[in-house]
């Protein structure tokens, strides 16, 4: 194994631990680090509210950020390799838009009558999460259907974009007829955040996300063959149809789960695979996939820390922070594409 890989395999986990600790220690409410440590070790803090803040809010939020970042980054990498298009991302296929639509239906149409849903096992936040999942999976199903009809990946990508536009169009119509407070609530969700997962919901989120990530790790060998294009890959024994389906399913799970729990999070899926490739200097998925996963976690945790506005008692919206890191990376990559190996 070369030195760069060894270095990254040491530095990235170290950075991850540091950022994770930072996310728990640093927040809108100032709590001394020794108290945070005390709380984590089960001690009694000076103020009872601190205990709640650390265990019920910061800890789940940090883990959510870590897994959401990894999920989005890996699904972005899968899309970029499958479509052999460095500018593909999980939102490109319309899967995020499908999740948005599901949420919009719940928040804008049923929002006022959530109480009527009280009899059902899901209401309020769980209803939103379920709706996002259903929406994402519905679009995923459509994409899977079209992927068996349309052989060309670029055409499939355009179909994904069109489905995304259709979903956005329906959301606009729903917005038009909805009351102001509902529209406001929906817009707030659309800003994205890592704090929507409660400690009770955390295990479910981590389970779904890890499942998707595990599936992605199983795809490393065919992903490398796909770098040569589908014909070469087929000649190397890759069963193209089945592999395409598995990659789409894996991306669908990762995107749907993340969007459902955190809202639509922009740029991490698009930019992190590029950061990972630039750090690693290779598009060999054997190292690239783990590095993308770790980098995604680190970037998401970094965003999570940057969201904290020290003077105020609230957090900046997540989607106000991610483009600050993501957009410059994408612009850098596009401008320097002639000198970047993996573009050629």
């Amino acid at each position: 194994m070369n030195r760069r890989i060894c270095l990254l395999y040491t530095l990235l986990p170290a950075a991850l631990v540091a950022l994770l600790a930072g996310s728990v220690v640093y927040g809108a409410v100032s709590i001394p680090p020794e108290s945070v440590l005390d709380i984590l070790l089960g001690g009694e803090p000076q103020r009872a509210s601190w205990r709640h803040i650390v265990l019920q809010s910061r800890l789940p939020q940090a883990f959510t950020a870590m897994f959401a970042g990894a999920s989005l980054a890996v699904s972005g990498l899968l899309m970029q390799t499958l479509f052999l298009n460095p500018l593909a991302g999980p939102s490109i296929l319309g899967i995020s838009d499908g999740a948005n639509l599901g949420v919009a239906v719940v928040m804008l149409c049923l929002g006022g009558s959530l109480s009527r849903l009280a009899d059902l096992p899901v209401s309020g936040y769980p209803a939103i999460i379920l709706a996002a999942f259903v929406g994402a999976c519905a679009v995923l199903g459509l994409i899977l259907y079209f992927s068996s009809k349309v052989k060309n990946n670029v055409m499939l990508l355009i179909i994904g974009l069109m489905i995304g536009y259709l979903a956005s169009s329906v959301i606009s119509i729903l917005n038009f007829y909805a009351s102001t407070d509902k529209v406001h609530a929906y817009v707030m969700w659309g800003l994205g955040n890592f704090s929507g997962v409660s400690l009770a919901q955390l295990p479910l989120f981590l389970l779904c996300s890890s499942g998707g990530l595990f599936l992605a790790v199983l795809l490393i060998k065919p992903l490398n063959a796909l770098l040569l294009g589908e014909l070469y890959a087929a000649n190397l024994g890759v069963r193209i149809r089945r592999t395409r389906m598995t990659i789409l399913l894996c991306t669908g799970i990762l995107t749907a789960v993340t969007t459902a729990f955190c809202g639509p999070v922009s740029f991490i899926g698009l930019a992190v695979p590029h950061i990972a490739r630039l750090l690693l200097g290779s598009s060999n998925h054997k190292a690239l996939l783990p590095v993308t996963l770790l980098t995604g976690s680190c970037i998401a945790l970094l965003c999570n820390i940057l969201m904290v506005t020290p003077s105020m008692n609230t957090l900046l919206p997540l989607n106000a922070v991610t483009p600050l890191i993501g957009a410059p990376v994408v612009i850098y990559v596009i401008i320097n594409r002639k000198n970047i190996h993996y573009f050629n």
């Binding site: 598009s283 573009f343 050629n344």
Partner: protein, 345 residues
């Protein structure tokens, strides 16, 4: 003629596509073909003749509409995808996105059909990769990025990948298409060497007629609505097949030179003397509308005494001596115009 067992064999093969509405679009039918180990076979044909379709069919990327391809005696349709990836390796013209991996990693992809679920390379795999890199003459670039390779080197790397795949058959789609002239000859020479040394069966499509005639052990000439012509380049030329396959509008194949030329009315001219000078004198004369023939009293006679001494003898006139091909052409042109004027008078 020795009886050898063909590695690939097909009789009455019909190739083409099944359209969405279930109808079949036949590109070519009634193809009879045989490929032998240790030989380079070049598939020649104009665009639209069905070269790519034939290669895709033989490579197992698409099914024949009817008829069966026998691969080492076994029907191609009976091969699983995994078995096929061990039998036929391909080198295509498709743009790849492998710029970000090293040449070694690219060649190691050729081991995919042989490795396990995670593609872990054992010592044997690494040895085979090293040998393939050497055989293709690209081992000096092994740790470089694919993106840094020239077109010729990239082609060698893809050939090394096919070698690492250890298939008895290698099919290449226009392997010399984007290469400069030295890389073209280099690639063809490499393929010939591999066919000889490793007893590979190599089939490639090309538009480069001259290279195919020069380097191909066997040629396949493909044209719509005609049976496939197979044979050694020389037999096909002497049998007059090239002229019929490559006769289009004003273009014709010259069996004497093995080249395609734009047809012009060619007047015979006598040409003798030093073979090298005469060869290039003929080349220049042909460009100017003359065909080199045996000397005759009724036509101009060009006698090449040496590279710098050419004697031109017009019929019934004293000989002229020139010392370059340029002067030869200029003199012949003036003689010709004089003749024309005299004819008019």
């Amino acid at each position: 003629m020795s009886e050898r067992t063909p590695v690939i064999e097909a009789a009455g093969l019909r190739i083409g596509y099944v359209l969405r509405n279930g109808k079949k679009k036949v590109v070519h039918s009634g193809l009879n073909l045989k490929l032998y180990a240790g030989e380079v076979t070049c598939l020649l044909g104009l665009n639209g003749a069905g070269k790519s379709t034939l290669l895709r069919t033989l490579g197992g990327f698409q099914q024949a509409l009817s008829g069966e391809v026998l691969l080492q005696g076994k029907p191609l349709s009976a091969f699983s995808q995994a078995e096929r990836s061990l039998a036929v390796g391909v080198v295509l013209t498709d743009r790849t996105h492998a710029g970000g991996i090293t040449v070694y990693e690219l060649v190691s992809l050729g081991r995919h059909p042989h490795t396990g679920f995670f593609g872990r390379l054992k010592k044997r795999d690494r040895d085979i990769i090293t040998h393939s890199l050497q055989a293709a003459g690209i081992s000096h670039k092994a740790s470089g990025y694919v993106a840094e390779l020239s077109d010729g080197e990239r082609q060698k790397a893809m050939i090394a990948k096919a070698l690492a795949q250890q298939c008895p058959i290698i099919i290449l789609d226009e392997p010399t298409a984007f290469l400069d002239v030295t890389s073209r000859i280099g690639t063809m020479a490499l393929l010939r060497r591999l066919a000889r040394e490793q007893q590979k069966t190599i089939l490639l499509s090309t538009h480069d007629i001259e290279a195919a005639i020069q380097m191909g052990d066997r040629l396949w000439l493909l044209e719509k609505e005609r049976p496939l012509a197979c044979g050694t380049p020389e037999d096909l030329i002497l049998g007059g097949l090239f002229e019929t396959f490559f006769h289009k509008d004003d273009i014709r194949f010259d069996p004497a030179t093995g080249k395609l030329t734009a047809t012009a009315p060619l007047t015979p001219i006598g040409l003798t003397g030093d073979p090298l000078t005469a060869h290039w004198a003929a080349n220049a004369l042909m460009r100017n509308g003359w065909r080199a023939s045996s000397p005759d009293d009724t036509r101009i006679h060009v006698n090449c005494l040496g590279k710098r001494q050419i004697v031109i003898t017009p019929p019934n006139r004293p000989p002229l001596c020139v010392n370059s091909i340029a002067d030869l052409i200029a003199t012949i042109e003036t003689l010709n115009t004089k003749d024309d004027k005299r004819n008019h008078l």
